[in-house]
Subunit: 158 residues, 3 copies
């Protein structure tokens, strides 16, 4: 009897490039039979918001302003050489022209391959958002439960 291999990712950063890394790892591992858990927290939580543009969401003035400023998956900045948001668009163009999966395609693949999405309880409370504001969040977790889920596998902080 063999146990299923496991990869758990803490998706902390909301940068475009690190989101590409997260979903490349998630979908790539799921494709070869790994159980994959992605825990979205802080800026990373922003990647899976249903609203892809800027919107005042959540509760409390500050929560709403932060949600607006972060935008959604359509506004992720590159961690370097962002040039006011032009670079992520150029990079998506390069990925398409080289037949490499774009970020949106990688997210869709992760969903299709049944990657488990978990949300950080604390981030949700601070921003005042609901599970329904995000795509396919299985559950909201704290540290203890996440560590329990990740046990016996690899864990990366991205």
């Amino acid at each position: 009897m063999t146990t299923q291999k496991k990869l758990s990712l803490i998706c902390f950063s909301g940068d475009f490039d690190k989101a590409v890394a997260t979903f490349t790892l998630a979908s790539g591992a799921a494709a070869v039979g790994y159980e994959v858990n992605v825990f979205f927290t802080f800026w990373g939580y922003n990647i899976i918001k249903k609203k892809k543009g800027r919107a005042f969401q959540g509760k409390g003035i500050l929560g709403r302003v932060f949600n607006f400023l972060m935008g959604g998956v359509g506004n992720l900045p590159l961690s370097r050489l962002n040039f006011g948001g032009i670079s992520p668009k150029l990079m998506t163009h390069m990925m398409k022209s080289k037949n490499v999966a774009t970020l949106q395609e990688l997210i869709d693949a992760a969903v299709a391959l049944r990657v488990n999405f978990y949300a950080c309880e604390m981030s949700a409370v601070i921003l005042g958002t609901e599970n329904d504001d995000y795509i396919q969040v299985k559950e909201r977790l704290g540290v203890a439960k996440f560590l329990h889920l990740a046990e016996g596998g690899q864990v990366l902080f991205i």
Copy 2:
């Protein structure tokens, strides 16, 4: 006989948000019985300086200038949308108003829960600082000793 679970964190970044992540993980894991080791290096080393404001510390002009520029735990920048240091203060305000532990409370919890703090030998040498400049450093380590400590547990680079 069961062995104690273990979590080891390399706290490299000195960003406010990543410091929150480090100490949330550290205190959360310690609270459920994990042995937790945090290895402070580079910018992360700055988080546990006793002096929370800006101060010329350490040896050599450059070491002293870097220490001053980094400031202490009271000067950690947000990795994005920092707005000249206003955002970490707003975020602390949001955390308090939602009854979520602030960074200082998380650090205090980690200390109370006997999380082991280790300092990077190399960072200390470059900055010319002493153990006594930091809160509760158990020992100064290099890579080999840290890897040995972390063996058999999860390791995250933050």
Copy 3:
């Protein structure tokens, strides 16, 4: 019979300070007998380019422009307080004056200690570069093969 300990690093960031962390860990672990695998991807790929300065390399206008903008190992920015590239030079000066190994010395040590360098297939395709543009790339890999290599050891995302 004991199996060799293993450390696998995903070198994603091309920051000077994170490059120092990557090669300190890689050479430190290799020095105490670990099998060490470093997977260079995205900005990190830039660290091991043979051309250390800025050069239009690769295929396609955008690939060539990105390669130029990133420069090589001589142009890595500090993740904070970069001051237009002055800080990495000051830091190298500080490392030398304290007899701490510089980034170039750490890279040379990793090569001498037979650390395995792998390149991200997707990054190479997007940039349009060849293995020969980089120092000592053993193989180009995707996620599945990297996870397979890393199995049974520690993995860090840097």
